[in-house]
């Protein structure tokens, strides 16, 4: 990588790269790139595998606390071995395949889902020198890799030979396709302003501070804040998380397209869900929260990957908090929300970002005008759309409750 930059960085910052180089340095020259890639793959698999394991535990403990109960605390110290106990349980369970199932597709669905959900991690810049693959079109790659999850969901629903699975899979597909649009449209403004599809360059574009303490993160601009919120809402829906967890609505659809899965295949679906959640959160960090950048110049001595991890964890905890709070949407509400609310707002936000990048040269009092116009373009449509859409339905009065 960039050798000049490496020498000026602190030891901690260089540590992962140094570790990789010491391992690959022992190998002949022609093998190094392959060994390096393998190490990166192992690091991502191990890191996010562990994150997945402890995320499930954190989720159960936090949900427990929010519902005033302790959560799992029996396996190991404070329940820290619980994920491994769950893993052993999933591995030792009987793997049931329905008699009428399409055996090949039934087997392929979870495998494809996990494989595809791991692809996105390749282009996330975890730190200043930590990105597995540097692509000019990384953002496009990320979302292209994500679209294949829909196929896996369809395969799971269809191959199970169960009408509930199939119906739920169709619902899941409708949801995934509907929310893909606002997800992509909320990313476009970032690409527009940064002028690049490369994740590393988008992070680099967010470096620096104005007034000495306000980072140039996209989330601190009006269109960026709106884009971040829209992106996170769409990400919630894309990763099938509550309140958009209709596909596996336990109370209504048995378990949706997962009904006919058991044992480790079932665990694989959950692994894919958490991987997807992590990847989308990582993308949100990269696009809107300044990636691995430190919030203050004085805090830059903390290595960049620690900042990335911290931001990622905050977003993941937000996912869990939202899950503990909101009830599930109805299917028609879900569709209405996507097409009548999110899509118009993301389109307006795109125009807003275009205006923002056109007025980048304005200075002095004109800058106030720029901020006022941008803020109005976020707030006014939100309030107007919210009013018209919820007219007649809110607030609800419960007469007999």
């Amino acid at each position: 990588m960039i050798a000049a930059a490496l020498t000026t960085d602190s030891f901690l910052e260089r540590l992962p790269v140094l570790a990789r180089d010491t391992v690959t340095g022992r190998l002949p020259e022609s093998w190094r790139w392959m060994a390096g890639s393998l190490l990166e793959i192992i690091a991502i698999l191990a890191g996010f595998g562990l994150l997945f394991a402890y995320l499930t535990l954190a989720e159960r403990k936090i949900l427990g606390r929010i519902q005033n109960r302790p959560g799992p605390n029996r396996t190991g110290w404070f329940g820290l071995l619980q994920p491994f106990a769950d893993g052993v349980k999933a591995l030792t369970k009987e793997d049931v395949v329905p008699a009428g199932a399409d055996r090949v597709l039934h087997f392929l669905a979870p495998v494809v889902l996990v494989a595809v959900s791991l692809l996105g991690f390749a282009v996330l810049p975890f730190g200043r020198h930590l990105v597995a693959v540097e692509l000019d079109t990384a953002v496009l790659y990320f979302f292209a890799a994500g679209t294949a999850t829909e196929l896996a969901v369809f395969m799971a629903g269809w191959a199970s030979h169960n009408k509930y699975s199939l119906l739920a899979a169709m619902r899941a597909l409708a949801q995934l396709i509907s929310y893909e649009l606002p997800l992509l449209l909320s990313v476009v403004p970032v690409v527009l302003v940064a002028g690049t599809l490369s994740t590393t360059k988008i992070v680099a574009a967010q470096g620096g501070w104005s007034l000495g303490f306000v980072p140039h993160w996209h989330v601190f601009t009006p269109w960026g804040a709106a884009g971040f919120v829209l992106f996170m809402v769409a990400a919630l829906a894309e990763s099938n998380r509550s309140p958009f967890d209709l596909p596996e609505a336990e109370s209504e659809l048995i378990a949706g397209h997962l009904t006919e899965y058991s044992g480790f295949k079932y665990a694989l679906f959950f692994m894919a869900e958490y991987f997807g959640m992590c990847a989308l959160s990582g993308m949100a960090v990269t696009l809107f929260l300044g990636g691995w950048g430190a919030p203050l110049a004085q805090l830059e001595w903390i290595p960049s990957y620690a900042w990335f991890t911290a931001k990622l964890l905050v977003l993941l905890l937000g996912f869990i908090w939202i899950r503990a709070t909101l009830p599930r949407l109805r299917l028609d509400q879900l569709m209405k929300f996507a097409w009548k609310f999110l899509v118009p707002l993301t389109l307006l936000n795109l125009a807003n970002a275009a205006g923002w990048s056109l007025t980048a040269g304005w200075t002095g009092p004109l800058q106030l005008v720029r901020w006022a116009v941008a803020l109005a373009l976020v707030a006014v449509p939100f309030v107007v759309l919210g009013r018209t859409l919820s007219a007649g339905s809110a607030p609800r009065t419960y007469r007999f409750a």
Binding site: D102, L105, L135, D136, T137, L140, Y141, F143, A144, A145, T147, A148, E150, L151, F154, M155, W158, L166, M170, L173, I177, E180, V191, L192, G195, T196, L197
Partner: protein
């Protein structure tokens, strides 16, 4: 490099052939997706990253869903998903259509004068792509936009309820 190309060719053609021959329509559709993925891999092999990922996004992400939805919504039962053994009449028409399409494409390929000089893949910038789309290919972009808008409006008209919602409530 040639080896990679051969593997890609086997994947693309093999899955396409299997898609044409499998009796199960869903399998056909999924094999078609594999074929599209192979084409995306081919673009990657040729150094056209942007086209490759756009191919995956559009074909694997969106078009496959359209195909699968169409198959599922037009068949009444699982039994109908089976395609009958090839009838001669249909096979003849299929061969005629195939030969015609490949003739058109082949003619276009052979009519083009190829410049065999090695070309390095140009660096893709968003700005460059935008200028290209809005400049040289503006007409095609507009036409596609009109087409898709018409399709969207048609879908809305088909999906909209016959009566306004307020009347239904009363």
């Amino acid at each position: 490099m040639t080896f990679t190309f051969l593997i890609l060719a086997v994947i693309i053609l093999g899955s396409a052939l299997a898609a044409a021959l499998r009796p199960n329509l869903i399998h056909c559709a999924l094999l078609l997706v594999v074929s599209w993925l192979g084409v995306a891999g081919f673009y990657l092999w040729a150094g056209a990253e942007f086209v490759a990922f756009a191919q995956v996004l559009v074909y694997v992400g969106a078009l496959s869903m359209v195909v699968l939805f169409a198959v599922l919504l037009t068949r009444q039962s699982r039994a109908e998903l089976r395609v009958d053994a090839p009838e001669t009449r249909r096979a003849v028409w299929a061969v005629i259509a195939g030969v015609a399409v490949s003739g058109v494409i082949g003619a276009a390929v052979f009519a083009t004068k190829w410049d065999p000089a090695p070309v390095t893949a140009p660096e893709v910038t968003v700005r460059g792509l935008g200028l290209e789309l809005m400049g040289a290919h503006a007409a095609a972009l507009l036409l596609l936009g009109v087409l898709l808008t018409a399709a969207l409006l048609g879908a809305v008209v088909l999906a909209a309820p016959d009566r306004p919602e307020k009347e239904e409530k009363s």
